[in-house]
């Protein structure tokens, strides 16, 4: 087994698709670094000047109309049937911060609302959901933009894994291979193992390069910001989970390639599935809990939140509230594991019985 695995690892590395995808990933990393370079630049003096001018105009306006606006606001608040209603009448005055262009930092500053634990609408919120909503990857800044690259990296290893098996099926080389190694079990799992093994360094190196590139871009212009507590651990954990997801996606790619035999079919099925998830997600209600994208995100980000609308009849028609639900990283991980295991097992059983032409 280990010998076969070594041979398959060597074949994976020698493949041109792997080379091209590697080059493509480098391109993605370069691009993300360039984008980070734009984001990292602090606002120019001209932009700040412009912001001040706009603020001063608004402030002058407020000086004349402000009292009227506030009293109108308070009146409408009083008229509200809900005694707890807060129309935010004390926050209507313009502030300079509202006009200044935001400064992006590599390490995002903590979200102040996460400290108070209060949600915008004043309702109490599950602290676990709060934690996911305010995690480092959901904030604003260089680091938080990096996790958007994860699907790109995962798709890349999926692509290579699919073609790793379909190339062999399409060329018929699998037939010759089986006359050298007739054991279908060993043949299948050595291919799956090779694809999963290579996926790990591919996504880890790509992510590390992207992170390093982004950090460097922010460091050059001096907007790194201060590292929050435990950020290194958070990044390491994310990278580790990304590596596991990479291996899982590669196994799924091998399985789909083996089952469908054609690269276009396997990639098409995966793309159609993910596309359908994105399009129909908002109408799916509680089924969102079982979407691949939701579970993958839960696994990568240490949890994922989805929302449903709960509507009850009221005297004015229907009154709806948005309810947040948590998908734990454990569920996400088990879901990935389950999907990978089922696909791999199905592909293995089919391959074991299939006639090879």
């Amino acid at each position: 087994m280990s010998r076969l695995l070594r041979v398959e690892l060597r074949r994976y590395r020698a493949r041109r698709v792997a080379l091209w995808v590697g080059i493509g990933l480098v391109g993605v990393v370069v691009l993300s670094t360039v984008v980070a370079g734009f984001d990292a630049r602090p606002p120019s003096a001209a932009a700040i000047r412009q912001a001040r001018v706009s603020y001063q105009q608004q402030a002058a306006q407020w000086a004349t109309d402000g009292d009227q606006i506030v009293s109108d606001c308070l009146a409408s608040q009083q008229a509200d049937p809900n005694p707890d209603a807060d129309h935010g009448c004390d926050q209507l005055a313009p502030t300079l911060d509202q006009f200044l262009p935001a400064v992006q930092h590599f390490f995002p500053p903590a979200d102040p609302s996460s400290v108070t634990g209060a949600s915008a609408d004043g309702g109490s919120v599950d602290p676990a959901i709060r934690q996911v909503d305010t995690s480092m990857w959901r904030r604003f800044g260089g680091l938080a933009a990096l996790d958007d690259l994860a699907p790109v990296f995962l798709f890349a290893v999926f692509l290579v894994a699919v073609s790793f098996v379909t190339a062999e099926l399409a060329s018929g080389a699998i037939g010759l291979w089986l006359t050298f190694v007739p054991g279908r079990t060993r043949v299948f799992w050595s291919k799956a193992g090779a694809a999963a093994t290579w996926a790990v360094p591919l996504v880890v190196v790509a992510f590390a390069l992207a992170a390093a590139g982004s950090y460097a871009a922010y460091a050059v212009v001096g907007t790194v910001g201060s590292a929050p507590d435990g950020v290194v651990g958070d990044i390491a954990a994310f990278t580790g989970r990304l590596a596991v997801a990479g291996a899982a996606v590669a196994l799924a790619g091998v399985a789909l390639g083996m089952l469908l035999r054609h690269a276009a079919a396997a990639i098409g099925v995966a793309a159609a599935w993910l596309g359908a998830e994105t399009i129909f997600r908002w109408g799916m209600g509680d089924l969102q809990r079982w979407l691949f994208s939701v579970n993958l995100s839960a696994w990568l980000h240490g949890g994922e939140v989805y929302t449903t609308d709960r509507c009850v009849p009221s005297d004015t028609g229907m009154s709806c509230t948005t309810v947040e639900h948590l998908v734990t990283p454990v569920q996400g991980g088990l879901f990935l594991l389950g999907v990978t295991a089922v696909l791999s097992l199905a592909a293995y059983l089919v391959f074991r019985r299939r006639d090879v032409a």
């Binding site: 018929g172 010759l176 006639d355």
Partner: protein, 316 residues
């Protein structure tokens, strides 16, 4: 390598394969009992679609048999194929390698899979004369070079049994002769070569024994000489008065037919009986030739008979 002559290289019994496709069922092989003796070249003959490739695929575990048993060197396959596969080198239909890899890399991967020493790859490439092009991509090879690379691949294992499925497809005369000589020399080294083909002349020249199949069934099997002999020899005679001679031979119980101005007497082993029968009636033979049926006639006779029977069966 010493071979036990009593154990056939290949033995199948009651072998059967039915392909199920969306458009129905196709019988690939039907109740095939094939015996390939160890040593020598064995021709596996049959028209297109007669089940040769299917049989070879089943032997190699590429295709699952629906019924029957198979043994390679006495070892039941596909159950214990991994025990004997190292002794079997095979080219099934056209050679199939990774197109984007060089010939060398293709062989390297195969050699690593069976733990063959890496020097072996250079040796077999040298043996088939591909050393110069070994670093080029397989995709850029000519058909003959692809075929030679496939032969090289089978030699990686130093096999006792070589299975070549239509190895001369698409080759030029020189390439065909080269393959034939390769097969002969492999057999002379004491190995067994099974070569499938529908080109009879080619097999007749090199094969020691043959099996003839059609529609997935075995029609005949044995030494080439015996099979050709079984069809019987015929004697072609030219006599001045052909009409009289024909009457005489008919009366004597010979199977006579006219052919291009001479007479052909079928099923006669010794030409002397014909000339004696005519001589005693005062008819003198001006020319007398003994004719052997080629494998081709035997083959066409057998396979046409088979399809006639199949048609009759369908009509019934």
């Amino acid at each position: 390598m010493p071979l036990d002559d009593d154990v056939p290289a290949i033995e199948t019994a009651g072998l059967r394969k039915v392909y199920r496709t969306r458009r129905g069922r196709t019988v690939g092989v039907e109740n095939l009992d094939l015996v390939v003796p160890a040593g020598g070249v064995h021709g596996f003959l049959g028209p297109n679609g007669s089940g040769k490739t299917t049989t070879i695929r089943m032997l190699l575990g590429l295709v699952r048999a629906d019924a029957g048993t198979m043994r390679i060197f006495g070892t039941p396959v596909p159950e214990r194929l991994d025990e004997v596969v190292g002794r079997v080198g095979a080219i099934v239909e056209s050679p199939k390698f990774f197109p984007a890899f060089s010939g060398r890399r293709n062989l390297d991967l195969l050699a690593q899979a069976i733990d063959a020493p890496s020097t072996r790859v250079g040796e077999v490439l040298e043996h088939v004369g591909l050393t110069d092009r070994a670093r080029d991509r397989y995709r850029t090879y000519s058909l003959g070079m692809k075929q030679r690379l496939a032969v090289a691949a089978t030699l990686l294992k130093d096999p006792d049994l070589l299975i070549f499925d239509e190895p001369t497809n698409g080759l030029d005369p020189a390439g065909i002769r080269e393959i034939r000589e390769t097969m002969r020399s492999l057999a002379d080294q004491g190995r067994t070569v099974l070569v499938s083909s529908h080109i009879l002349a080619e097999v007749e020249q090199v094969a020691d024994t043959v099996s003839i199949v059609a529609r997935g069934r075995l029609l005949a099997s044995g030494r080439v000489a015996d099979i050709v002999g079984a069809g019987g020899a015929s004697v072609r005679v030219r006599v001045g008065d052909a009409e009289a001679a024909r009457k005489v031979l008919d009366a004597a119980g010979f199977a006579v037919r006219a052919d291009h101005g001479s007479l052909v007497v079928d099923g006669v082993a010794d030409p002397a009986v014909v000339s004696r029968a005519l001589g005693v009636q005062g008819l003198w033979v001006s020319e007398l030739v003994q004719e052997h049926q080629g494998l081709e006639q035997v083959f066409l006779g057998l396979t046409e008979g088979e399809s006639a029977r199949a048609t009759a069966g369908a009509a019934a």
